[in-house]
């Protein structure tokens, strides 16, 4: 059977895994989105504790998904790892700094003798809550808008500017996606808080905040989609593999790939359904609609970036240096070996679900916080 599995199939398979991890990461950034409300949603110290604890019980999932997303990229598309991380140095470093701040803040914020005081750790959570989703959105934006780099014969990268990734912030489409991801994370954070905490006041305030955040989300998301579909994309010639810039490339890709189009549209509908259910029906299940929609939209965006003729990490200054799945991937042997390992993923998802349900079966209450059961 193994002889029948081609290298290109394995590249596609691993792009699917990367896309899935990327989509799940977008959803799990509800933790960051929730953190961005640390100073605004709660009106009392107890409420703030409840918000922090609701999010703090899930931060490791987001963190682990980010680490696995990076590891999977390293293993399956190491040229991307080499080019993007080694080139867009400052963009990735800024993302990493924000995540270091998060990792300790939940555990340390309320512990006595934490040296800096609760406020400082809450500020750290706020910084990660805003910068994390925004910068990851900007970084994903470069998958469509491209970067300034070139590769030599030995695939060693030279970045075209000394800004080393910060220049991505100057591109309107990257900015629009970054802000859309940030506001989506904020909405998801509010939906999650609504589903996990038993406090009427908090719920009311979070519903109002969902309405307020839905407008900027829609504006930035639609702006990104408009810019994406009307811009020139980076496509490879089917026979020669030569990369060129093609007008309406992503629009054409969406139309000619019904699966991606259906995923994209159904994902958007699910996100909007989740928001609707929360605002008009006060449903605690809204997070699952919006969350599933986010994963599916994430999948569709990664499909659009990587599948077909698309170069998933384009260079706009040296088109032939652009990375396609076939150019950036690991060898057939490595991808196949890892494919066998990936068969365990459904089992991993199953035990995560069991553990998640076990912890979330009772909503967080003020009384539980007062008991001090490993409270953040």
């Amino acid at each position: 059977m193994t002889a029948l599995i081609s290298h290109s199939f394995l590249q596609g398979y691993w792009w699917l895994i990367i896309s899935l991890l990327g989509g799940i990461l977008l959803f799990l950034m509800f933790v960051q989105g929730g953190q961005s409300f640390i100073f605004s949603l709660a009106k009392s110290e107890l409420q703030r504790t409840m918000v922090v604890n609701a999010l703090g019980r899930k931060w490791e999932f987001t963190f682990t998904t980010l680490v696995t997303f990076g590891g999977a990229f390293f293993a399956s598309f190491p040229l991307f790892y080499s080019v993007s991380f080694g080139g867009a140095y400052w963009l990735w470093m800024a993302i990493l700094f924000s995540f270091i701040l998060q990792a300790v803040s939940f555990e340390y914020r309320s512990k006595p003798s934490n040296v800096y005081g609760t406020k400082v750790f809450d500020v750290f959570l706020f910084i990660n809550g805003c910068l994390g989703p925004f910068l990851i959105g900007v970084a994903v934006g470069t998958f469509f808008t491209g970067s300034d780099f070139s590769l030599d014969l030995y695939n060693r990268v030279t970045w075209g500017t000394n800004w080393h990734g910060i220049e991505a912030l100057a591109n309107p489409a990257n900015l629009a996606l970054g802000l859309a991801v940030l506001f989506l994370a904020r909405i998801l954070g509010l939906l999650y808080i609504g589903s996990a905490i038993d406090d009427d006041q908090l719920l009311q305030r979070s519903h109002k905040a969902i309405i307020v955040n839905t407008f900027p989300f829609l504006v930035f998301f639609l702006s990104f989609v408009a810019l994406l579909l009307t811009s020139k994309g980076f496509g490879a010639d089917k026979t020669t593999g030569t990369i060129s810039q093609i007008k309406y490339f992503y629009l054409h890709s969406l139309i000619t790939n019904p699966l991606t189009l259906i995923l994209f549209l159904s994902g958007v509908v699910l996100v909007l359904t989740g928001i609707y259910l929360s605002i008009f029906r006060r449903s605690a299940k809204a997070i699952w609609y919006a969350g599933t929609g986010t994963v599916i939209v994430g999948l569709a965006l990664f499909f659009l970036a990587g599948y077909g003729r698309s170069a998933f990490y384009p260079s706009f200054t040296n088109l032939q240096s652009s990375l396609t799945l076939s150019k950036a991937s690991s060898s057939r042997f490595t991808l196949q070996t890892m494919m066998y390992v990936s068969f365990i993923i459904p089992f991993v998802l199953a035990y995560i679900w069991v553990a998640w349900k076990a912890i979330n079966k009772k909503k967080i209450t003020g009384e539980e916080m007062a008991e001090g059961e490993h409270t953040y």
Partner: protein
Amino acid sequence: MLENLDLSLIDWSRAQFALTAIYHWLFVPLTLGLSFILAFMETIYVRTGDEIWKKITRFWMTLFGINFAIGVATGIILEFEFGTNWSNYSWFVGDIFGAPLAIEGILAFFLESTFVAVMFFGWNKVSKKFHLASTWLVAIGANLSALWILVANAWMENPVGMHFNPDTARNEMNSFWSVLFNPVAINKFTHTVTSGFLLASIFVIGISAWYLIRRREEKMAAKSIMVAGIFGLVSSVLVAITGDSSARIISKVEPVKFASMEALYNGKNNAGLTVIGIVKESDEKIGEKKVHDVDMRIQIPGLLSVMTTGKGNGYVPGIKDLVNGNPSKGILSVAEMMERGKYARKILADYKMSKEVGDDETAARLAAKFSDKDFVDNYFRYFGYSFFSAPWQAIPSVPVLFYSFRIMVGLGFFFILLCALAVWFWKRDTLKKNRWFLWLALFSIPLAYIASESGWIVCEMGRQPWIIQNLMPVNVAVSNITSSSVQVTFFLFAALFTGLLTAEVSIMIRQIKNGPKH
């Protein structure tokens, strides 16, 4: 491009990686060992139903949580620094090195992070058995994480299971099992995790000793010493055994590192193992590198030969043999390896050029060389040496290795004694009477960290100048960024990690002073 890379970029990149690794390794060993200690304690609680064991488990779990968070924070930086600071390396070996990292994420990290949430928050939410299973799964997950990253690290010391692909200009994996069951990997994993078990045991014994000194929480302290003492004693013996086999393997796959650990310049039969000594620079040089003498050397005659060859009169090569060559022992000089490496590199350059100009016939002929056993075994295996400008560059820092190795080994033997005494005094119920032992145990906590860090310094500094033994020196692996960028991130990381470590230690001390809550 490589010629334009400045030395300060390499030095700052190394410094940043070393900084991150040293900080990361302050937290990981405690997680590795304490997770199992928690599992043992909770198992006793579930089996006996005695509430004091629940109290004990929960107290150490609080300290575990404080340590775990900062370990995770520093860990993510290490993973991404392979790309940000060593991008050429990421491409050159990503096909092999990346796989264990991805497997680590899928198999181990999720196990650890999923069940750590149940372990912390599930006491009143899940059944006793579910909670106990979660604690065990955290321990297994944490140690599985260590397995995969150590497999990757071992591969850097003994690259196996791969071939070079001239088209992609990188090494590609052709045997996953060779990578996984690399003898260096097996030794490294067992030696590293058992050293983590030992460190955690000393941590628990030391803090428990403090309670006994202060005449507080005496029941909890004595029971903790019992669990940690037995675990530590078994682990310390395993650390010694795996350390011995590690040294034997290093002498074969990284002979310069091994000779440098012993400051052995002239190879000899019946070589003695230096127990202690003082390293001093002499007037002699190998190229630009000073030769070091060892004053006040105390040696065990013949032991080094026995350790490395299994025979008392076995020959152990010295640094001079390994750098200048020793034809009578079949040792090539570094100068010769440089020539062979340059030849291999020229074949690669010619291949690339012929592909560029469309000379398919020449390209096919040159590509075939990379599948030719003679070329691979006698030329390509020295590829990395082609980047040296002088043979002396193959020598790592002898004083750093000499002292780090002795600190690690000396403290390792001391810890066997310490754990044995802990078990002995607990068994005789005389812990409280032997206050000297309690103080000794308390002050041994920092010693455990020093020993553990020294071990990694031997490992990583000893591999210099290589990032991948014989294939890629660090100066070729580094990312093409400005050294000022790396300087800025170095100082940012240094400030951030130090700030967070300060908070961690302060919180930990307060929690210990407060004692168990429940």
